[in-house]
Symmetry: C2
Subunit: 308 residues, 2 copies
C-alpha cells in the first residue's frame, strides 16, 4: 500500500525545481543552491489530542498538520523550502484516509510553493498520527528567534485570540505570508507563534529573551469565538481568559523596537489587524499593567503536555 | 514537561558547529556552508509494530529509531548533517521514557557526529510513536539512488540476512560508515537498504531502475539467526526463506559495474563481508538463476503495511 500511495503521490505532486529526487527512494534530495543556512521544524499531530478524526473531515486534519508547521516557519520568518510527511494510519480505511489527508494538505502546500519531497507511510492498530517536517530558507535578514527581544520593545500581535476550539484550530491561516512581509519591511527583534496559549507563549518569548513582558490586558484582541465559548461554557471564565489561555490561535507575537512598532501599527500593512498589547521590560516574568505604573504578576496559562 | 525535556536536552547535547539554533525555539537553524544539495529522510516507529515496548529496554527503541534513519542515509551514501526527533509519549511514565529513548539514541548520534537539533514532544493516551527526520549531506559523487542500476551490474550485499526478529532488528549497526567508504573508493550505480525484506527490496531496486534482477540463491548469505528461527518455527520455512523475506536486516544492496564489483569483492575493504548474489538484467522483474542459463520468477516477499 505504501507503493500504491507513492504511485498516487507521484501523479499528484508536480515536479518542483527544488526537488531533485522526490517520493520513492530511501530519502529525498533537495536543491539548496549554495544556501548558508536552513531552518528545520517538526510537529506530530495525534488523533484525540490535536483533532477528533471521528468528528471532522480528514482533509481538515491533513491541512492542519501542514498549517501548524507553516506557522512555525512564520514564527521564524522563514520561506518554506520543502516538507516530508510521516503517517501512522489505522489499518481500517487507511488508504482512503491517507488520500484524504493529502487532499487536505496539498492545496495549502501548493499555495506556499512548498514541495512535499517524501515521507514514510505506516499502518497499525493505533489512532492516526501525522508528523510533518518542514525545511525553510534563511533570508539575508536571518531567522527570527524567540531570544531577540530587548527591554523597550513593543509587543505586537496579529489577529485575535481565544475560542479556537470552536473550529479555528483546524482551519486557521498560518501567518506565513504576513511574517515574511513584516520581516521584509520592518526590523523585528523576536517572534513566536501562539500554539500553547497567548499568555504561555508570551512567557516563552520572555524566558528565551531573558527579559520580562508587561501586558496591557484591555488591549488584547479578543476573538468572537472567545466570547461565544465563554457564553457556552458559563463556567466563570471570561472571553479574555479564553484569549489568554486557549491556544492554537496560530497568530504571531512579535517584539519590535518602538519606532518600528509605531510605523508598523500606523501602516497596518496586512489583511489582518496588528495590535500592540504590551512591552518588553528588564525584569523577568510575565506581568499585567495596572494604573499609575504599577504591575502585578500574570499567570501564564495554556496547553502543556502532561506526563506522569 | 516539554520545557523540562528541552532543559534536559540542552544540558545533554553538546553545542555542534552545524547547529546555529538548537532545541527550544519554533524551529532549529542549521549551518549549510554553501551546500548545493541535501538529503532528507523520515521514519516513524510505532509500539507493537516496530518494537514491543513492554518487552524491551526503551534505550534500544530510541537507538533503533535513529539507526533505521541512519540506514536510509547509508542507502543514499549521504554523510549525516542533523536530525530532529518527534515523540508521542504515553502519559504514564512518559518523562522517564523520553529520557531513556534519548539515552539510547544520543550515543549513536554522537558516534556519527550527528547533532539532534530539535524536535516535538507530545503526550497522549496512545502507544509510543517516535519519528526521526534526518538531513544528510550530498558528497561530490552525488547521492546513491535506487534508480541507477544498469544491465550487467553486479548485485553486491553487505552482511547476512534473515531472523532479525531474534533481536538484530533492534541492535543492528547501520552500514553508514561502510556506505561512505564504498562510495568513496568504488563507482556505485545504485543502492538500497534492506528494511522490508531482501527479495522485496531487490524488487524495489529493480523497479526503480526499470531493469530486472537475477538472483543466484545459493550465494545469498544466510544469517545464523535465520537458521535458528527456521528451527524454532518448524513451519516448513527454510533459513533461506527467512533470509529472503524477514526484512529489518538493514544491510545494503548495491548495484556495481562488473569491474568495480570484482575489485571490491577482492579487496573486501569492510569489517563485514561483501557478497555478490546476482546481476542486473534488462528484463524487468525479480528472477532466480537456474542451471544452464535458465531462470524462473522469484516472488518478492517481505513486510508490507496492510490497509483495508
Amino acid at each position: 500500500m505504501e507503493a500504491e500511495l507513492i504511485a498516487l503521490l507521484r501523479r499528484r505532486i508536480a515536479p518542483h525545481p527544488l526537488v531533485r529526487l522526490g517520493p520513492g527512494d530511501d530519502a529525498a534530495v533537495l536543491r539548496l543552491a549554495g544556501a548558508e543556512e536552513c531552518v528545520v521544524t517538526v510537529d506530530l499531530l495525534m488523533d484525540h489530542v490535536d483533532f477528533e478524526l471521528a468528528e471532522v473531515d480528514p482533509r481538515r486534519v491533513g491541512r492542519k498538520a501542514l498549517a501548524v508547521n507553516l506557522s512555525d516557519l512564520a514564527a521564524m520568518a522563514s520561506p518554506p523550502l520543502a516538507g516530508v510527511v510521516a503517517l501512522a494510519l489505522p489499518r481500517r480505511g487507511g488508504m482512503d484516509l491517507a488520500v484524504a489527508l493529502y487532499d487536505g494538505l496539498l492545496p495549502l502546500a501548493e499555495r506556499y510553493d512548498l514541495p512535499i519531497a517524501g515521507g514514510d507511510t505506516n499502518s497499525w492498530d493505533g489512532p492516526l498520527v501525522i508528523g510533518i517536517t518542514l525545511l525553510g530558507k534563511v533570508t539575508a535578514r536571518g531567522p527570527l528567534c524567540r531570544s531577540g527581544a530587548r527591554p523597550g520593545d513593543r509587543i505586537v500581535v496579529t489577529g485575535s485570540f481565544g475560542g479556537s476550539l470552536l473550529g479555528r484550530h483546524l482551519d486557521f491561516e498560518p501567518r506565513l505570508a504576513e511574517a515574511l512581509l513584516l520581516a521584509e519591511r520592518y526590523r523585528l527583534h523576536a517572534g513566536i507563534d501562539v500554539s500553547d496559549g497567548l499568555s504561555l507563549d508570551l512567557a516563552h518569548l520572555a524566558e528565551e529573551s531573558r527579559c520580562g513582558i508587561l501586558v496591557d490586558l484591555p488591549s488584547v484582541p479578543v476573538a468572537d469565538d472567545a466570547r461565544r465559548l465563554a457564553e457556552q461554557r458559563a463556567d466563570g471564565s471570561t472571553a479574555l481568559d479564553h484569549a489568554l489561555a486557549d491556544g492554537e490561535d496560530f497568530e504571531l507575537i512579535l517584539a519590535v523596537p518602538p519606532d518600528e512598532a509605531r510605523r508598523m501599527l500606523a501602516d497596518q500593512p496586512l489583511g489582518v489587524p496588528l495590535t500592540e498589547i504590551g512591552e518588553v521590560i528588564a525584569e523577568p516574568g510575565l506581568w499585567q499593567r495596572l494604573d499609575a505604573g504599577r504591575r502585578i504578576p500574570l499567570l501564564p496559562r495554556g496547553y502543556q503536555h502532561e506526563l506522569r
